[in-house]
Amino acid sequence: MKFVRDFLDKIKPNFEKGGKFPWLHSTFDAFETFAFVPKTTTTSGAHFRDAMDMKRTMTMVILALMPALLFGTYNIGFQHFHSINPELSFFEGFWDNLLYGAIKILPIIVISYVVGLSIEFGFAQWRKHDVNEGFLVTGMLIPLVMPPDVPLWQVALATAFAVVIGKEVFGGTGMNFLNPALLARAFLFFAFPSSMSGDNVWIAEKADAFSGATPLAEMMIGANLPSTSFWDMLLGIMPGSIGETSSIAILLGAAFLLITGIGSWRIMLSVFMGGALMGLTFNLFGSNPYTQIPFYYHYVMGGFMFGAVFMATDPVTAAQTNKGKWIYGILIGVMAVLIRVVNPAYPEGMMLAILLLNVFAPLIDYYVVDANIRKRMKRWKIKGGQNVQ
């Protein structure tokens, strides 16, 4: 690593004030801090610095996404060959499947990063602030929530929309109130419905004779149970968005996030609780077959698991207070199942549920904090106005 340091030190003066390219300072700074932990310290007061800064946090999340990404890549290939030859078993033609999946997914990842990062760098340069790290994760999340057959120019457009309208207009990473990756998906979902919904988009270059319906779509048109078995759905052997199919792979990522303390267990748990709550309520009162399926089916179909683990837990857009996180999570679970079962227009409710609660998260926090203040005021009054520590 020495030569990288040497090289950076050598070219550094060019980007300082008075150098050749002072206007590229943000770009240089981004690459320098990407390679090395910054040495600078604050000038006044005691200040602890953890090596776990934002760049490392983001890298951890990327690592947590790897199982879902690898499985997704393989599954793209398997679903493609399976639609041509329905006799195919899951591990047959392993390398073919993987190769086919990689050819499909790599361009989407590249497009997402290139477009998103160029906009981030452009804005950072323009506003003369440092490049934010937030897009490292967003850029990986966007490909994982796309259908395998999505046109690349649409990915580029959606990424640009999400970064500019979802993030930069509010001041960049940390200021956005909507999850950018989900916003990109929502943008495509409403702008180009034909490439984001229906039975033909979930399997890459599907053979015409094969029905490409996802379990959610089957339930929507009135099946009693999805034709895919529970175990297959748990493992992820079904058509769907790239990263969302395998609950096992997502749970591996979730375990990693929880062990490293990056993801909030309160949010994950409460989303599942909310889903169970609504699922059980439907079991009690529902009248059509969709309302009668066991609640845990909701976890493994569609993007519920992925949303709960990677989207709802986004520290910027989720509720910040502990009590708020419970309310936020439970409402996401409830809304997601509610939209799935009741709304005839949207087979998948997770995306809309999370975006809706993203909007409400600051309000939830406000009332949680307010309630706490009132509680303490009351205690203070009961004690006769003395300061109770």
Binding site: P151, W153, Q154, I165, V169, F187, F190, A191, F192, P193
Partner: protein
């Protein structure tokens, strides 16, 4: 007579734009701009109503008792709106149907009421007329911009004529359906305001 005061027309086009600066008339700006033609007709109707009602109120301004001035203004505006509505129905029936209730709702358009209260009640008829035209045009610029962008990207056409060639569609281009939905109009208005303020620093709130 001081003659034509062109500032009255020029200011509302940019620095005092009713939509991007005063944030009035947003509702109709979102509702009727999915296509260029209705947006244009709407902009024209509002301009006519603002200009003429400004003149009438300005003529009457010394005789209107202050306590009932709002109701008098409403009567004048409704009269003009009904006239406009009838003209539209007679000559451009299709567009009139597309605009549906929004022509009637010009009565409640904040731009109209705002100009009557803020300007016509205290200025001479000629100035009021110019002010009405200016504000109408300021509204029209934004509506037509929105109409062009939304129809071009949402339906691939302008004024009903296809602009984006078939060969684009064959190459995989798709119309952006979000453009024809009101939320995207709101986002576009936001972008216009963003650009406008970036170019006129004195408009930014401190």
């Amino acid at each position: 007579m001081a003659g034509f005061n062109f500032k009255l027309i020029k200011n509302p086009l940019s620095k005092e734009n009713p939509i991007t600066v005063q944030v009035l008339g947003i509702c109709s700006a979102l509702a009727v701009t999915a296509k260029l033609q209705p947006a244009f007709v709407m902009a024209l109707s509002v301009t006519v109503v603002v200009a003429l009602s400004n003149v009438i109120i300005s003529l009457l301004r010394n005789t209107i008792p202050p306590r009932i001035r709002i109701i008098v203004q409403l009567v004048v505006v409704s009269l003009l709106v009904i006239l406009v509505d009838q003209v539209l129905k007679a000559f451009v029936y299709d567009v009139s149907k597309q605009l549906s209730v929004f022509v009637g709702l010009i009565i409640t358009n904040c731009i109209v009421m705002g100009r009557l209260e803020a300007f016509a009640m205290s200025n001479k008829p000629l100035d009021s007329f110019l002010d009405g035209i200016g504000n109408g045009l300021g509204y029209a610029i934004i509506l037509i911009t929105l109409g062009v962008v939304r129809e071009l990207f949402g339906s691939g056409s302008l004024w009903g004529y296809q602009i984006i060639p078939d060969s684009f569609y064959e190459m995989g281009y798709q119309n952006n359906s979000l453009m024809i939905m009101p939320p995207m109009a709101l986002i576009l208005v936001g972008i216009i305001i963003w650009v406008h303020r970036a170019r006129n620093k004195d408009l930014c709130e401190k």
